[in-house]
């Protein structure tokens, strides 16, 4: 579990998109607290991506290791946010790097806009673009300690 003080410090930093290990629920809590004074925004849409316990060729996935080209991932995520963020649109993106166990959260995207339609649509657009454009790779780790790159 990430120590609280260091998590708050990291959340306040500009390039805090990549989190070592599972994303703590506290990250969502901090984002919601940040959004509270934005009274002009009435909609918040949230996506959590969780590591799924898939069964592949009879073997259970117990964790995923996320490898990342960090310098490029940060640039791509910043560009993605800049594409859509404005005075009326607020976006936060967090992606795990390193190992995340089955059931834990590895992706968190939060979008806030004045009305719900835009939040729903923008959330989906951003999640799809993250999957397509951010240089991150998954290594599925099985219960017998073998693995495969996805």
């Amino acid at each position: 579990m990430m120590e609280t003080k260091s998590l708050y410090y990291r959340l306040s930093q500009e390039d805090n998109f990549l989190i070592q290990g599972a994303i703590p629920f506290e990250v969502l809590h901090q984002c919601l607290k940040t959004l509270y004074p934005h009274f002009e925004k009435g909609a918040i849409a949230v996506f959590f991506g969780k590591v799924r316990e898939d069964i592949i060729e009879g073997k259970k996935v117990v964790a995923i290791h996320y490898e990342c080209y960090e310098a490029m991932a940060i640039k791509v995520i910043k560009r993605l946010i800049a594409t859509y963020e404005s005075d009326s649109v607020w976006i936060r993106i967090y992606h795990s790097i390193g190992e995340v166990k089955a059931g834990e959260i590895s992706l968190l995207v939060i979008v806030s806009t004045p009305h719900r339609k835009q939040s729903f649509e923008l959330l989906q657009t951003i999640v799809e673009r993250i999957k397509k454009e951010v240089p991150i790779w998954k290594k599925e780790i099985f219960e017998d300690f073998t693995y495969r790159w996805k």
């Binding site: 991506g49 996320y66 490898e67 990342c68 080209y69 310098a71 490029m72 640039k75 992606h95 992706l107 999640v127 993250i130 999957k131 397509k132 454009e133 951010v134 240089p135 991150i136 790779w137 998954k138 290594k139 790159w149 996805k150």
Partner: protein
């Protein structure tokens, strides 16, 4: 003129390298030909190429001293 080549995902295992420092490759296609000769398994792999964290499509791109070239298999994040 020195450049750094980075390997990600299964390409790291195929080549046995996370990164390489190489010298005297003027263009991207010359560098790629060298890498495919040195690591023949790369010839069967699908990957895009980034130079200084930007995807490039032109294989005859001129390289500069200090450039960072990354071989990027299809992404699977999210």
């Amino acid at each position: 003129m020195k450049v750094t080549v980075l390997f990600f995902s299964h390409l790291e295992e195929l080549t046995g390298k996370q990164q390489l420092q190489l010298e005297d490759f003027e263009t991207l296609d010359k560098l790629l030909r060298y890498l495919q000769n040195r690591f023949p398994a790369l010839q069967q792999q699908t990957f895009s190429i980034a130079v200084n964290q930007t995807i490039v499509n032109e294989k005859n791109k001129i390289l500069n001293d200090g450039d960072e070239i990354a071989l990027l298999p299809p992404f699977s994040g999210g």
